[in-house]
Symmetry: C2
């Protein structure tokens, strides 16, 4: 039985024989390949299959003669209807929601009038994993997403969270496919960093100082440091041994006698230095000049979790050409909103020899590609979102994937927003002030009714690495705004001119030294380049219409919570 574990046969010879003689691998079939779109029921009927999954609902019929199980294996939203006869297995052990089964049988055409195209008549039950209904935390009643956040280890068994997991997987693969097709190379930028991309931003610190201090504490308890009198005694011994040597020398003693005496002196000195070292051990976090001594930390300096891989990925754009990074990023902000996470994933492409125009081009193509991909690969899950969370989710994907994005300068955006009379904004619109989310959404949802790219922002509200335009007032930055979430992408052409960059760093009040390496990219064979960042979870919110970012990442981290 393929479900069996491989046990150790008594001898080595038998072990090899056992493994090579195992019958041909028998695979379990994914339910998606049985009842997914594109499979014709007629091809399936009569086929023997083995499936495994979890019971969504189970009910006995025919006075206990057989049971109907709705079985889901996570490969798709739909369940497979499974029929088990009471002669095959004790039915009561199969019925509870959450029970796992591995079963074999034949696919049959259900009776007329039944919505399923095919059902499975089971003749072998290979494995069962029970789920006690009195303690199983996910009964079949509909549970709120908020409730499910307390069960991140079990919630992927629910329709919503499993649909999001599949959408997430598809968007990740679409991302790699898009960039590969466009000649971008994937680069792993560092997670632990000693650079700070924005020159600000709350960062998590990475350290071993606490565990080192704990170890030292334990060590000092088990083996207490010497007392001052022990040190004094050791010093006295060194003095005595020194005097012995001097004495022997003055007596012109034999070489052997003198070197024996010198050896004793050396040992006394070593012993003293060891005692002094231990005497100087201080419990707790190492300090120097009243501050934490980070030279004693793992990396010999303060280290943090990355807030963006952009600066580092630029090193590879300036060598390999088009590149992108796709990895976790971090913010230690005490935000309790539905739009912020302490740990989230970001995609950051960087286009060598590319200007702002190229940047906008790839940003638009990428977002369109993702939307088309979901329509092509995830329609069933998207229909579930439309039915349960956001009526317009599919229409939005269609709109974004087909309509050209509107492009307007920041200056134009401000003019348009200032002229708005049918809505009162909470935040003032004024040239030189960043657009608020309400403004961004008004531009894309009300004025243009499609995605909008706003470009050329005032330099004061944007980061130091963005390229200064010839007007000396704006930088070559751009934001992609989409309905439902507002800003989806932020990007810019990077300042590739050495002197201009030095000035921007200085103007931002930042020290130059940490950016030496970044400046060297401009000093040696500098090239125009541009790039952008897309928050992966924000893209999923946009696609699915869900409201809380904690529901679109498998293991959400936010102030006070880091389950598992």
């Amino acid at each position: 039985m393929a479900g069996d574990v491989v046990t150790t046969p008594p001898t080595a010879e038998m072990a090899s024989a056992y493994l090579t003689s195992l019958p041909e691998r028998r695979r379990r079939e994914f339910i998606s390949s049985i009842i997914g779109r594109g499979t014709a029921a007629d091809d399936l009927v009569g086929r023997r299959v083995r499936v495994g999954g979890w019971v969504k609902t189970g009910r006995e019929q025919g006075k206990g003669a057989f049971a109907f199980l709705e079985l889901n294996d996570g490969s798709c939203l739909a369940n497979l209807q499974v029929i088990v006869d009471s002669s095959v297995y004790p039915l009561t052990q199969l019925l509870h929601t959450g029970t796992s089964v591995l079963v074999e049988g034949e696919l049959k055409k259900p009776p007329e009038g039944v919505k399923q195209r095919v059902e499975l008549r089971v003749d072998r039950v290979l494995e069962v994993g029970s789920a006690d209904p009195s303690t199983y935390p996910l009964p079949k009643t509909r549970l709120t997403l908020e409730f499910l956040r307390d069960y991140v280890h079990l919630r992927p068994r629910t329709n919503t969270i499993s649909a999001i997991a599949r959408i997430r997987d598809e968007l990740a693969y679409a991302t790699h496919t898009f960039f590969r097709e466009n000649g971008f190379r994937y680069v792993h930028t560092p997670i632990i960093t000693t650079s700070d991309c924005e020159g600000a931003g709350e960062m998590f610190q990475v350290t071993t100082l606490f565990s080192d201090a704990e170890k030292l504490d334990k060590e000092l308890q088990n083996n207490p440091p010497p007392s001052e009198s022990e040190i004094e005694a050791a010093k006295l011994l060194v003095k005595e041994k020194g005097e012995d040597v001097a004495h022997l020398k003055s007596l012109k003693a034999s070489k052997e006698e003198i070197s024996a005496s010198v050896l004793k002196l050396t040992k006394a000195k070593e012993s003293l230095s060891k005692l002094e070292e231990r005497f100087n051990l201080k419990p707790g976090i190492p300090q120097k000049d009243g501050k934490v001594d980070y030279s004693r930390d793992f990396f010999g300096r303060q280290a943090f979790l990355t807030v963006s891989g952009q600066l580092q990925v630029e090193t590879h754009a300036c060598a390999l050409g088009n590149v992108y990074t796709f990895g976790p990023t971090f913010r230690a902000e005490h935000s309790h909103t539905s739009r912020h996470l302490a740990e989230f994933w970001m995609i950051e492409p960087e286009i060598a020899f590319g200007d702002l125009e190229d940047d906008m081009y790839y940003a638009e193509e990428y977002v369109k590609f993702l939307c088309r991909w979901l329509l092509d690969h995830c329609l069933e899950d998207m229909e579930f979102m439309v039915k349960n969370y956001d009526k317009s989710a599919i229409d939005r994907l269609k709109l974004v994937s087909s309509e050209p994005f509107k492009r307007i300068s920041y200056t134009e955006a401000v003019e348009l927003l200032c002229a708005v009379t049918d809505k009162k904004f909470e935040n003032k619109v004024e040239w030189g002030v960043d657009l608020a989310s309400e403004h961004e959404r008004y531009l894309t949802e009300v004025i243009f009714k499609r995605p909008v790219i706003v470009y050329n922002y005032p330099k004061e509200i944007k980061a130091f690495y963005m390229r200064l335009n010839d007007d000396q007032k704006t930088v070559a930055a751009m934001d992609v705004l989409v309905p439902k979430v507002g800003e989806l992408i932020g990007g810019s052409q990077r300042e590739e001119r050495y002197d201009a960059l030095v000035e921007r760093i200085t103007d931002a009040g930042l020290p130059l030294e940490p950016y030496d390496w970044y400046l060297e990219l401009r000093k040696f064979g500098t090239v125009k380049h541009s790039g952008f960042g897309l928050g992966f979870e924000r893209m999923i919110l946009f696609a699915t219409g869900l409201d809380n970012i904690r529901d679109v990442i498998p293991f959400p981290r936010y102030p006070g919570r880091a389950d598992l």
Copy 2:
């Protein structure tokens, strides 16, 4: 000129007109698409192209009439030969190694006897980024990999590091492709975790306690806490205001008078409580009962960087079916070897309803897939490795992708190694002791001359989550051993039986409570499952034949070093 930045036209209307009227996008061509394998020289000759890249070598010819530049853009190992006439651009500005250029011209057939199939005659030089040869750290002389580690921001411009970057990118894409083709979903397991996969292992701590303490220090300096006498004065005020209220009440004063007096009392109390709060502020790391008070840390408890996503990805295997994670993992070990990094990437698939046999099947198929992928997609870079680092690198890929892996039990492996007479091992071979690297390499390189999977290890030397075999002595673990690096993959069938897992955790001396969620996966609808982990950098070492792991990750992190 496409190289120009987009500047802000004076009015909003003009801005839109400007952008929509831009001529059709002109792309730079990758050098790989001009001189890569599979392009026929005849199709290229006569084509106009624009290319950008960095000068590897430049030399003037014909008494300064023209220059030959070897141009590389990172898209492939090979350089494009570029010819610039002195009438087109001042040649001396183009010649130095490291100079960047963006040029346009026509592809020509070179004279007979020249090795290049095609060369570029430049008629426009669009952009130049100089590189001063007196300060550029990467001259054309061959540099050691060790030297290059001090220039992680520039080293991807060298042949070796750019070849590795391309191999890395290809292996990452091959990984996603393999698992997708086999029905695995990609899951992002958490980077910040409150679980410890191995129940041991040195972990980095993630904290905001230092920055919080710094903020508090600054705040206390700017706004010193109240003195004891201030507190006393505030207490006295509360007392007085209380007496006032009592006095007015005893006088049966008017409601207005009394409530005015109560208001004053309330204010005095508030003021006191604020003072007391500030009085109790202690600078430094928050302490409780003589220990660090982690309830005041960002997540309300101690948090760490993950050492493995396995335990967490199991939650999704027990819901979605086959899944895998591919992300960064961390070890805070003070290892200064050529095989260890503090930050590295790992691929961890998990097979639902899969036993050890399935685990070995997917491990073998995956490694074979990666090897074939490199032969199909990276031959030029692999040939470079063969020429410069490891003569057998390509042969090794061919061997591994074609030969079935040998499978032997741990017991058999020990028997075979004990019988070895032609080699003296440094480490003793004995049943119950883990195999050392020298044993692993001997098995794969000498005895079997192909990859070997060793399975069923003594339970004492393996982790608690590995499934206990019926012999009660071994667990269903397996390691894949390959020539050159030894262990490439470690995996196991997971213990899916609740009681057996409780016993294994307890036997390992671990507390049960942190594993509550992990145990619940076994309590509710448990299924057999298995998985493995492949260290991504180790795979690259295996493929390329390089010796030091610090050279196969873009930004290596190890004790004392975390550049950028």
